[in-house]
Amino acid sequence: MSEEQIKNLEAQFEARIARDEKIEPKDWMPEKYRKTHIRQMSQHAHSEIVGMLPEGNWITRAPSLRRKVALLAKVQDEAGHGLYLYSACETLGVSREELYEQLHSGKAKYSSIFNYPTVTWADMGAIGWLVDGAAIINQVPLCNTSYGPYARAMVRVCKEESFHQRQGYEIMIKLANGTAEQKEMAQDALNRWWWPSLMMLGPTDAESIHTEQSMKWKLKRKSNDDLRQQFIDQTVPQAELIGLTIPDPDLKWNEEKGVYDFGEINWDEFWQVVKGHGPMNKERMKARVDAWEEGQWVRDAAMAYAEKKQERKEKRVV
């Protein structure tokens, strides 16, 4: 194809997206669109998969059967969400194995929030309430993104995710209304998860390298800073309602703007964690790689069994 033909196709492509048409897997698309989508969707899928680890840590120690079934269901949903997203990613011609390889080798990123440890039961509450809360704010606009398979996966994910946040908040309510020790545990979890949750919505707009192009392709519908503000404005009253204090001395309602002003985010910490120096980066990756490698014989056995069954079937036909 000549350069001019490609330019022409690109212009038509951009116009389709501008008209809110969806792009489907077999449609022509610019290479950069394909690559950007593989990157974002796989990062998203990896985050779901790695996100199971901090919570998996507490399944066997959930304080009641009610809490245990809920946590199990939530972690199972996350496996499902990872799967929807990997499948959507595969429609762009990348294999599942390549995607895993990128995660396991450290080439691909996942959400930095999962590199923090879950040290008490209250962390299950804080994760559901804050981390899933922030994730929902990030994900809802993606239900209208331009790439059809991604948008469809997100609709499914968002539908399922709202229980995740509610179950987390319910844990926090219970603890906040419990003994002094329980309330302290809830406050401590909020103290530790608040700032990482704000960071989870991504670098400030000034620092974000992908925003402009992603907006055009509807991979992003609101800027990181707007999403962060929305998250803060929605969460602060929820904390007040259950008598917990947001760990930010600069947090103040701004009457004029109708939003909360908040303190400086420690972006050095964010970049350290992104670069692999968070408290749990190594452990998370080790758990993930071990699970994959130790499961190899099961996958091989299943494949061998499937092939044997197929051979028998063919022999019988002859």
Binding site: D27, A73, Q76, S87, E90, D300, M303, A306, K309
Partner: protein, 96 residues
């Protein structure tokens, strides 16, 4: 790294209730059709989304090429006489 083959890809279709058609809802990897069905149940019907599941290995699906959309679908556009509104009726005929 194992030298064994990877699990193939399957497409999943779910009927949400009797009376409705099966609809494509996604895909997954599985070693064989039985496992594909079981995985589809766990992945796509965890909240009672279905009463029946079809799985088919993705490689068995033949799809039209969007580059041929012109010759495939455009001929239908100028055949308005296939639609009821093409035909003039007197106003007195209320329903037909």
């Amino acid at each position: 790294m194992s030298n064994k083959k990877n699990w193939p890809l399957w497409e999943v279709f779910v009927r949400s209730k009797n009376g409705l058609e099966h609809r494509h809802c996604g895909s997954l990897h599985a070693a064989d059709e039985e496992m594909a069905l079981e995985n589809a149940r766990d992945v796509y019907t965890r909240r009672s989304e279905g009463v029946s599941i079809w799985v088919v290995e993705s490689k068995h699906i033949t799809a039209s090429n969007p580059e041929h959309n012109g010759e495939l679908f455009e001929p239908a556009q100028d055949k308005v006489y296939r639609h009821p509104t093409f035909y003039d009726l007197p106003d007195e005929v209320k329903h037909m």
